[in-house]
Symmetry: D3
Subunit: 162 residues, 6 copies
Amino acid sequence: MAEAQPRGVADSRSSVVRLMVPTDANFMGNIFGGAILAEVDRVAYVTATRHSGLNCVTASFDRVDFIAPVHVGQVVEFDARLTYVGRSSMEVWVRIDAEDLSGGGKRLVGNAFVTMVAVDKKGRPLEVRPLSLTTTEERQLFAEGRERMVLRRQGRRAERTR
Amino acid sequence: MAEAQPRGVADSRSSVVRLMVPTDANFMGNIFGGAILAEVDRVAYVTATRHSGLNCVTASFDRVDFIAPVHVGQVVEFDARLTYVGRSSMEVWVRIDAEDLSGGGKRLVGNAFVTMVAVDKKGRPLEVRPLSLTTTEERQLFAEGRERMVLRRQGRRAERTR
Amino acid sequence: MAEAQPRGVADSRSSVVRLMVPTDANFMGNIFGGAILAEVDRVAYVTATRHSGLNCVTASFDRVDFIAPVHVGQVVEFDARLTYVGRSSMEVWVRIDAEDLSGGGKRLVGNAFVTMVAVDKKGRPLEVRPLSLTTTEERQLFAEGRERMVLRRQGRRAERTR
Amino acid sequence: MAEAQPRGVADSRSSVVRLMVPTDANFMGNIFGGAILAEVDRVAYVTATRHSGLNCVTASFDRVDFIAPVHVGQVVEFDARLTYVGRSSMEVWVRIDAEDLSGGGKRLVGNAFVTMVAVDKKGRPLEVRPLSLTTTEERQLFAEGRERMVLRRQGRRAERTR
Amino acid sequence: MAEAQPRGVADSRSSVVRLMVPTDANFMGNIFGGAILAEVDRVAYVTATRHSGLNCVTASFDRVDFIAPVHVGQVVEFDARLTYVGRSSMEVWVRIDAEDLSGGGKRLVGNAFVTMVAVDKKGRPLEVRPLSLTTTEERQLFAEGRERMVLRRQGRRAERTR
Amino acid sequence: MAEAQPRGVADSRSSVVRLMVPTDANFMGNIFGGAILAEVDRVAYVTATRHSGLNCVTASFDRVDFIAPVHVGQVVEFDARLTYVGRSSMEVWVRIDAEDLSGGGKRLVGNAFVTMVAVDKKGRPLEVRPLSLTTTEERQLFAEGRERMVLRRQGRRAERTR
């Protein structure tokens, strides 16, 4: 099946810049974490769907760290790339940077790892094409992604048996 | 300081029911994970602020699992309660249930653990009142929350030294 | 018909807490009455649909009083319960309380009585299951609700004959 | 004070047409009553502020009847005019008409009576300029508005003494 | 075909007043041009659909000038009328006025010329009824609209051959 | 003044990808032109502010062509770059491409030229740093942008003297 040809990380990498407006903020002017995660989810969805060519749903947000607060008037960049692809699940790493438009450059404000699963109309998992790896960084991220998945499964099992 | 008197889990527990509308859905009628997380973040913020009486920001989403898809027209209930309170951080567990209005009862669709931090106007952490525990379930959730925090710190340290 | 078994007030009672954000406010920081009514309508819809298991539409907002202004940053709780159920119409009382997150407790800010009607796909009224009453308060609210409905019908008739 | 010169009904009359989009609808394609009331509140606010030149807040929605359902794709017209002006409160009648864009003309779908109050920055009532009446219809609407206000006050008093 | 009877400019003229809220503004309190254009597009769509009775899509925004800034709390009026009607395209002129509610009257803040095209379900152009002109101003606007269309076509041709 | 050092086109180029959701569509599933222009305005604002380091407002949308319709579920990419910089005004070209996520590649759906002006807090124009040009394409776009500005000024003058 031609569809199943592996694709590279760069083929589905997606980037969004978004100006944070008062709608996204609480009454202190801090952007809600939820407003950022809504954007993270959308860009992860775009990346997973671009790679697989299939309809995808969010299975989990595995770790989201907000390193620095984001304020109204800043431009936030969401850079999403695949790190790990299993049989039907895909891990997307979204790096979040913020920038004051008045200068000062970009600054890392957060990281998120989102697991998306390709599904058919009834919600059953579908097999996705493999991810072809070309750089050393890509290989390392893939190994770390696989490790995270194993840990997550162990974590869930541990929880169930506790 | 009277403000620092411990408060119980029930004092800050917050519940939201929300009807999912087409705005929240992708073109397949599935509700975006991001739309759900935006609501999770808001109810966790309410719970953390109710407990502390201080302004709070989201530090991390530690584990979010979407167990079943959510559809347009369902009512989703977000039930947020504190599990663990440290010096300035609070872990909020948000249990997410969905219900078809035409009957069939509620069904667990997801769980999220959100860490909120109380901060002053310059974003520096503030000490929050302790959490008083009264039931066995509360004590167990507190112990698990403390364990998750230790694991997260170890995870970050491991990452930095890798 | 099993569907037509009466249900109690508690079975369909629905509660929403919502953090008021700048989006909901005019430029003085006061929350628009319309933003509150949009939420009132949604929670009344949830309550009426939970009771009837049928699709419902809003027939009228019979009396809405805003007792105190609501501000950005407050948490508003909407508590909806059935007061009166006729053949196809249901009266829902939504009590609206606001709370400063920095402490001070909840305060009644408004009340609304919404009449919802169960309809089929062509918009024709459908019969709904009766409401079973168990407490004295429920019986009193039911009698008042019936009285309000009679007054509304008289009001409309008076208007037509004037 | 020049500001206190009476103004006519036509001076503050305000009209809004709005295309109803899927965002405003439930999953059956019916527009939420709440979406319509949010618009009613905004246009009533515009009318009351135009008349008084002062900041206004919504005091009550006194009677809202939805005569016919509104659907996605229809254009809804909200026509707001003052009916009664007391010392600091103003009653605004909003007539709601819907129109299929594919032809067939406008159709009355609802009526709402909104009471707005002019307030200072601390929320205390401010005196508003009188309403000058020129047509027979304006005089009749004013008399009916005054009657509604008396009935509302009696209704509230009756409720308190019950 | 009765449908093809010409209609006058007044038959499809549409007006919207909208209160600008913080959601529409950047962090300086200036309303985004994009928020204004979104409203311009909607009212132009209403006008073109009212005239043609057909589904319309936006073909181009031919010239939009923002003459003065718009601020949160102002009421903006969008007055849309047809200027020129070709075989399947309609030019709509939207005049944009802003008004401080605290007095001072309306002030022209912008003008936009939007070309809408009537299309069938596959997006193919459909013929629209002619525009009947009755006043001298309408005839002048029609001539200017036709001139703009010729210039736009020349502009596009010049661009392609450069 | 160090701030006034010229900057290249690449330094302020900004790209946004956005998944079009039902909120952005009319009831035929076509994305509103206005929803696209709102995004165009935001990305043009980001580009102009990045270049100038100053607060910018939209002066005009000079020509917007919608070449093909955009549908719910497509990913739209907005690629904004400076073409011409005058004393205080900047012309931003936004190229709009749409992509079906199920494959088939990107397709040009529109182009827009937006003029932004840097202003101080009172809305008075501020001088902006020059644009340094390095490629042949950049020089050609600059020349065309200057030509468009001259034509626009002539167009306005012709209009005034007519």
